[in-house]
């Protein structure tokens, strides 16, 4: 630990807990609390990673979660951010995106051929000749990308919770802490969030060599902790802003979605690098990074350093470095006038200050793994050029750089805050905040500590008043004096490699050249150069890019504008965002029975339905044929509990149905059932079902499973508009249904009920209410799957009893349970077209031959007017029942195979199946109206391309083919 300093006040490492880990095969030790980067740096390891494009060596840049060139993998996880992720004992780490290790990355040759790779180079080459592109694409894809994904990484469930507060304070620096206290003292419920593990923000490390500020921080923190109505969330970042103050707070444990009544953004500012040649070498780092290394982790950034600054902050950094025992070779101030505040302090320490100078380039050590010096030149601040004729060289092993700040305003932007460029601080500051949003501190353009504290109080007071409380309005005066940010801290260099965006290896000349090619709008420039598109999302590069573009175009910065800020503030794991993943499902009360009887289930909407019950070793096709055959020969029973079931009560119930559906119901007799068909206003078939009249003022409607919720919803909406004297009760979940059908159905049923089941007394299409096996049951006689079929509707909880009684009673009749797939075949044999299967999103009733179900001589029903229009138009297609040849043994056509005539598509098959009972292949298909007549022959093209002849027949098939 050669760079470890003696104990620092407020350090985050625990020196009593030693940790061992390896990086790139070498063993390292660290203290608990170290990040991977701080531990490596403490040990003198400076090359921590390789850059995305040129594979240049990179070290610490920010130590603030945007060192995206220092991504490591532990063999399990990848793209781990070494600058902020705590090192753990036993970790085995390597850098991502190298070929042969971080020190001897074979891909570092790319750096030397960089002139061949100008901005947007990939648009300019590799596409001719076309046939070679796949080769080049492969090369480029392999070179790009960062870490390698581990396909064995486990699915990790993170909790996603919701919480609520009056005031959410983002950022626990001095401003945020003060704001939180003020709001909490007014009785508000406050949540304060900070991505760092410890509170305090810059107050903890920006000390200018004076450690007495730490007592102020301690006091602030004690106060926050003493207030019970402040909830502190450290080690958690506010990932984005979503409407109505919904802010997901991401931590290792998961996501807490905070719904706040107001939000105070006190997120501070990101330090921005000055741009000079080789400002990316390991050992060149932001001033604030040097301070973080020093005070959080007690690691000296370097031994003999140069501080290059374009503001007063660099002086503070120099004082901090001195305090830690780093030798300051020189402080280079790019401004024409040095710091009034700090000049004396540095002079007192004998530090050489070069005013009006710049670092023209950093000089790499022989193996390019670090810095061995810097070329210093006088700097013409007006022209932003180095005067190279007076250059000289200073030796050093590190450079701390400070040039200014960019507001961490992502959430403000996402919330729709109007931002304005303030030349007093050379940064964008909020000018128009959305309702309930407040900004304070550096993000608000307030930099001086006392002012920030006042601004925190001011923002809290604003929030208190916003929430209806009483609080003074204390305006905080804007920043005065020297700007904390430099207007243009760039040093051009003919050889380039003066990096603006470290994520993407973008240099000044890339912007110039992009502009030359016409990409001189900030959004176009972003897209062409990819500035700000890397994992750090422009935190250290967007502001400099804007300044450079402004310079190129000769426009003031505010005319350039900013790119749009999007979530997330930091890249956020898919496992966190996906969370537990709820997959809701509905089960009928017979689910256990189906399981016990080896049903294969199918999902229909949220429902799990038994599709068929294969015997051991039986194929699906066999199982379905067996079940269907049993229904035809004896009897079958199916769980229809997922059907939609709706009661329509009231004197206007029949009238309601007549408006809602296509048929007539006012003259429907009590005890009878009628078909219902629902259209939409354009005349498209939506669903169908059966309406049973239980009383003058009560209908019981049963409809298909998948549309039930939507149909009920539309009924409710229609009733809102029509205001008829009815009541709607959705009993889909409260009632179950069983359909027993087949020649023996009546006999089986008769053993369980007193009701007269004779055909005369209980004819087709009628409904009876009676006890079956002791259960009050609504019995509906329908012919959906067989002529002799009874739907038994009863309370869901009593369905298992009813089912078991039927199964028991059916034993001697070989009663066979059948599933929903079998039902499909049965209804096909019966010649029933099914909405959603035999219709699509544009089918009208005429096309499925449902004219009989449409009663046009009503005053109104949904879709009626459109049908009057459609009726005048020639039919485009017609659904017809068809059969294949007797004993057809060729390739079986499938649903959705096309009906063709040479190059013309005449239609398609919507349902097709072999029927064991009929010993025939039967189906429905759309054909052109010319082919719709019984006896017409058309061609179906099967999957392999073979043509299969089909003949239009009369439906129901069961009558046509069996005369049943």
């Amino acid at each position: 630990m050669m760079f470890r300093t003696p104990k620092q006040v407020g350090e985050w490492v625990n020196r009593t807990k030693k940790i061992n880990f390896t990086f790139e095969g070498e063993e390292f030790s660290a203290f608990e609390g170290d990040t991977i980067s701080s531990a490596l740096w403490a040990a003198g390891q400076k090359v921590l990673g390789r850059s995305f494009k040129y594979h240049r060596a990179r070290g610490v840049l920010s130590l603030a979660n945007h060192d995206v060139n220092v991504l490591v993998t532990d063999g399990i996880d990848t793209n781990i951010r070494a600058d902020v992720v705590e090192v753990k004992n036993g970790m085995v780490l390597t850098a991502v995106n190298t070929s042969g290790g971080v020190k001897k990355d074979k891909n570092s040759y790319i750096d030397s051929i960089s002139p061949l790779l100008p901005v947007g180079f990939y648009y300019k080459a590799f596409h001719t000749p076309r046939r070679l592109f796949p080769f080049w694409e492969n090369v480029i894809r392999k070179a790009a990308g960062l870490g390698v994904v581990n396909f064995d990484y486990p699915r990790i469930l993170k909790r996603k919770t919701h919480s609520h507060c009056d005031v959410l304070v983002i950022g626990a620096g001095p401003t945020g802490l003060t704001a939180a206290c003020t709001a909490a003292e007014a009785g508000l419920e406050v949540t304060i969030v900070d991505e760092n593990l410890q509170l305090g923000g810059s107050l903890g490390y920006n000390r200018a060599g004076d450690t007495s500020v730490m007592s102020r921080l301690d006091n602030l923190i004690s106060k926050v902790i003493s207030l019970p109505n402040i909830k502190v969330m450290s080690g958690s970042y506010a990932a984005g802003y979503y409407p109505d103050h919904l802010i997901p707070i991401v931590s290792e444990a998961g996501i807490n979605k905070v719904r706040a009544k107001s939000v105070i953004v006190a997120s501070g500012a990101f330090e921005q690098p000055p741009v000079f040649r080789y400002n990316d070498l390991p050992g060149v780092m932001l001033g604030s990074a040097a301070q973080r290394l020093l005070y959080r982790y007690a690691v000296k950034p370097f031994n003999n350093g140069i501080v290059v600054t374009a503001n007063d902050y660099g002086y503070r950094v120099a004082l901090d470095l001195l305090q830690a025992g780093t030798k300051i070779v020189a402080l280079v101030d790019m401004r024409q006038t040095g710091s009034i505040v700090y000049a004396a302090a540095l002079a007192k320490r004998g530090i050489k200050v070069y005013i009006g100078h710049c670092v023209y380039e950093a000089i790499a050590s022989s193996d390019k793994s670090g810095v061995r010096g810097a070329v210093i030149c006088p700097y013409d601040e007006k022209q932003s050029v180095a005067l190279t004729d007076k250059q000289f060289t200073l030796e050093c092993d590190g450079i701390a750089m400070s040039a200014g700040w960019a507001p961490a305003g992502a959430l403000l932007y996402q919330a729709g805050t109007g931002m304005q460029f303030d030349y007093g601080v050379e940064q964008f500051v909020p000018s128009r905040l959305p309702n309930g949003m407040f900004a304070a501190g550096k993000v608000n353009g307030i930099f001086e500590l006392e002012q920030r504290l006042r601004d925190g109080v001011r923002a809290a007071n604003d929030a208190i008043r916003h929430l209806g409380g009483q609080a003074p309005q204390n305006d905080v005066e804007k920043h005065v004096g020297i700007s904390p940010s430099h207007a243009y801290p760039m040093v051009p260099h003919p050889k380039g490699k003066n990096f603006v965006d470290f994520d993407e290896d973008i240099q000044i000349k890339d912007f110039v050249n992009a502009a030359k090619e016409g990409f001189d709008n900030i959004e176009l420039m972003k897209r062409f150069t990819t500035v700000g598109m890397g994992p750090s999302q422009g935190k250290h590069s967007n502001m400099n890019a804007i300044r450079i573009l402004a310079k190129i175009r000769g426009l003031p910065v505010e005319k350039i504008g900013t790119t749009t800020s999007r979530p997330f503030f930091h890249p956020t794991p898919i496992g966190h965002l996906g969370g537990r993943g709820f997959h809701s499902h509905r089960l009928t009360s017979l689910h256990d029975w189906h399981q016990a009887n080896d049903a294969v289930f199918t999902d229909i909407g949220a429902w799990k339905r038994a599709a068929y019950y294969p015997a051991a070793g039986q194929s699906k096709e066999d199982a379905i044929q067996t079940e269907a055959f049993a229904v035809r020969k004896t009897a079958g029973i199916i769980d229809g509990s997922s059907f939609g079931k709706i009661e329509i009560h009231g004197p206007d119930a029949a009238l309601f149905l007549e408006r809602f559906f296509t048929g007539v119901y006012t003259d429907q007799k009590v005890g009878s059932c009628r078909y219902v068909m629902l259209l939409d206003e354009t005349g498209v078939v939506i669903d169908d079902g059966i309406a049973s009249r239980l009383a003058d003022d009560l209908f019981y409607l049963s409809i298909g499973t998948s549309n039930a919720a939507a149909v009920y919803r539309e009924m409710q909406r229609s009733q809102q508009m029509w205001q008829l004297n009815i009541g709607l009760v959705n009993v889909t979940g409260a009632f179950g249904a069983i359909n027993i059908a087949g020649p023996a159905a009546r006999e089986i049923l008769s053993t369980l009920t007193d009701l007269d089941l004779s055909y005369g007394s209980f004819p087709m299409s009628s409904v009876r209410e009676s006890q079956v096996a002791g259960v009050e049951t609504r019995m509906i006689r329908v012919a959906f799957v067989a002529d002799n079929g009874y739907e038994l509707h009863a309370p869901m909880g009593q369905i298992p009893h009813l089912w078991n009684a039927l199964i028991e009673a059916g034993k001697k009749h070989a009663l066979c349970p059948f599933g929903s797939d079998t039902q499909r075949l049965l209804r096909l044999e019966m010649g029933h077209a099914m909405p959603g299967v035999d219709t699509d999103g544009l089918t009208n009733p005429f096309e499925i031959g449902a004219d009989w179900a449409i009663k046009m001589d009503k005053p109104y029903f949904i879709g009626q007017r459109s049908l009057t229009i459609l009726a005048k138009r020639p039919l485009r297609k017609q659904l017809v029942p068809f059969v294949l040849a007797e004993n057809y043994k060729g390739e079986m056509p499938m649903d959705c195979n096309l009906v063709v005539d040479g190059r013309d598509i005449l239609g398609r098959v919507t349902s097709i199946s072999y029927s064991k009972y009929l010993d025939r292949c039967i189906g429905f298909a759309y054909v052109t109206p010319a082919r719709k007549e019984v006896g017409s022959v058309f061609q179906i093209r099967a999957d392999s391309g073979s043509l299969v002849a089909a003949t239009v027949v009369k439906s129901p098939f069961i009558k046509t083919l069996k005369g049943a």
Binding site: T78, N79, I113, L116, L117, P118, F121, Y122, K124, A125, F126, H127, R130, F133, P134, E137, R141, K142, A144, G145, L146, V148, V149, N150, F151, Y153, P154, R155, K160, P243, V512, G518, D520, E523, L524, R527, T564, R566, P567, P571, P573, I574, G575, L577, G578, I604, T682, T705, S706, G836, D840, G841, L842, R873, M894, C896, N897, I905, R908, D943
Partner: protein, 413 residues
């Protein structure tokens, strides 16, 4: 390294010229005014010049070129639609795309990856077969494949989808591709510019003059432009333009969202779509997973992001790829989609003479960029729409002759 890059290393000055000229104020009149500097509008300008010799054309862009849905989509190009009309149309687009990098001399990274539309239910399988059959009939390479073939193309995919929605099969569409979306706009802009069209950025249309049912001019924030022909190619903003000429259409705007992960080394070589899980995903040449989902469920003219979207999408991504738990989403964004009732575009002439619509691009606009440019150029040049886009005419709604792309979306159960 290709020799073409050598000149960059050997030149002192950056040797590439501007992609397109920067003009100050528009002229007093143009033969054709194209509203919208996205891929479609720029392509139309390009083909007006190239195919029809019409070069007195200006393209008016409110923001910057390619800044709308051209730069916001997930860059998938395919033609495996449901209706023969749709398949023919998008197939013509794919064919142009395949040679477009060469034609425009700009590498669009047109990368043919193969496209799987996964089916988790029997009803989805039916739809896949329907699409495959229509595709095959029209001569487009699509077929239904089983889980084995999917596993071969994407061994990382959990075919059971974490037990939630087992994959039964897929529609495999070999020509399915991805491309650099920005490049398409830039390439057409450069092409149109070189042939004489003028491109105006930051130029907003404030009104369209119609007299006696004929277009006669366009009001902009940079002055009045006389013209007899106006093309609206502003998907996402179409209702705002049609309102200027009192033209009713079925178009409503819904946001469509997408997101992207950190770059990783290439592993996903195909394009995957799951209708049931509302996911489509491909890996860009930079290494990011580019992911999209279904439309937002309500109308709003905004490109705001929602948390629901990214939560739902990532949850389903994990069902498909459980190992992605710690891969991070970097950015999410949204575009505004022109939605039509039948999920097909609205193209061609309108009741207003000289006002042409290239609209209703919903979620399928990027893939149609070349062919819509070409057919709209043809429509304007001849004042008559070619057969290829007949089914997409605005009057189909009055005629109750909607295009059946919606069928694929609502075939259920």
């Amino acid at each position: 390294m290709p020799l073409r890059l050598l000149k960059f290393a050997l030149s002192k000055e950056h040797p590439a010229p501007r992609f397109f000229k920067s003009h100050e104020t528009p002229k007093k009149s143009y033969d054709v005014v194209i509203i919208g500097g996205g891929g479609h509008g720029l392509a139309a300008a390009y083909y007006l010049a190239k195919d029809h010799g019409i070069t007195n054309v200006c393209v008016l862009e409110k923001g910057y070129i390619g800044g709308g849905n051209t730069g916001r989509n997930t860059t998938i190009v395919r033609s495996n639609y449901l209706t023969p009309e749709g398949v023919n149309f998008y197939d013509a687009s794919v064919k142009i795309y395949e040679g477009l990098s060469e034609e425009l001399d700009l590498n669009l990274f047109y990368s043919t990856r193969g496209h799987f539309t996964l089916a988790h239910t029997e009803s989805a399988m039916r739809t896949m077969r329907w699409r495959a059959e229509v595709n095959k009939h029209v001569g487009v390479e699509s077929r239904v494949v089983g889980p084995d073939e999917i596993a071969k193309a994407c061994p990382q995919l959990d075919l059971s989808c974490s037990g939630q929605a087992p994959i039964l099969g897929a529609l495999f569409h070999a020509p399915g591709s991805v491309a650099r979306h920005d490049g398409v706009a830039w390439g057409y802009a450069r092409g149109a510019d070189r042939l004489g069209a003028e491109i105006y950025q930051n130029t907003e249309v404030l009104g369209i003059d119609v007299k006696n049912g004929k277009v006669c001019g366009v009001k902009t924030n940079k002055g009045y432009i006389e013209t007899k022909q106006v093309l609206s190619a502003v998907a996402g903003f179409t209702p705002r333009i049609t309102e200027m000429v009192d033209l009713e259409t079925p178009i409503v705007i819904h946001p469509l969202q997408a997101c992207v992960t950190e770059p990783m080394k290439p592993w996903l070589d195909t394009i995957l779509v799951s209708g049931s899980l509302h996911v489509y995903v491909s890996q860009s040449s930079r290494g990011e997973l580019v992911m999209g989902s279904s439309l937002d469920p309500y109308e709003v003219h905004s490109t705001r992001s929602t948390l629901d979207f990214v939560e739902g999408l990532t949850s389903h991504m994990l069902d498909m790829f459980p190992f992605l738990s710690n891969v991070k989403v970097v950015r999410q964004w949204a575009g505004m989609a022109d939605m039509t009732p039948d999920f097909a575009p609205i193209m061609g002439k309108t009741p207003i003479e000289g006002f042409y619509l290239d609209a209703g691009w919903g979620t399928w606009g990027f893939k149609a960029t070349p062919i819509s440019g070409k057919t709209m150029a043809q429509t304007i040049a001849n004042d008559s729409a070619p057969d290829l886009i007949h089914s997409f005419r605005l009057s189909r709604f009055e005629d109750y002759e909607l295009t059946g792309e919606k069928g694929a979306a609502s075939v259920g159960h």
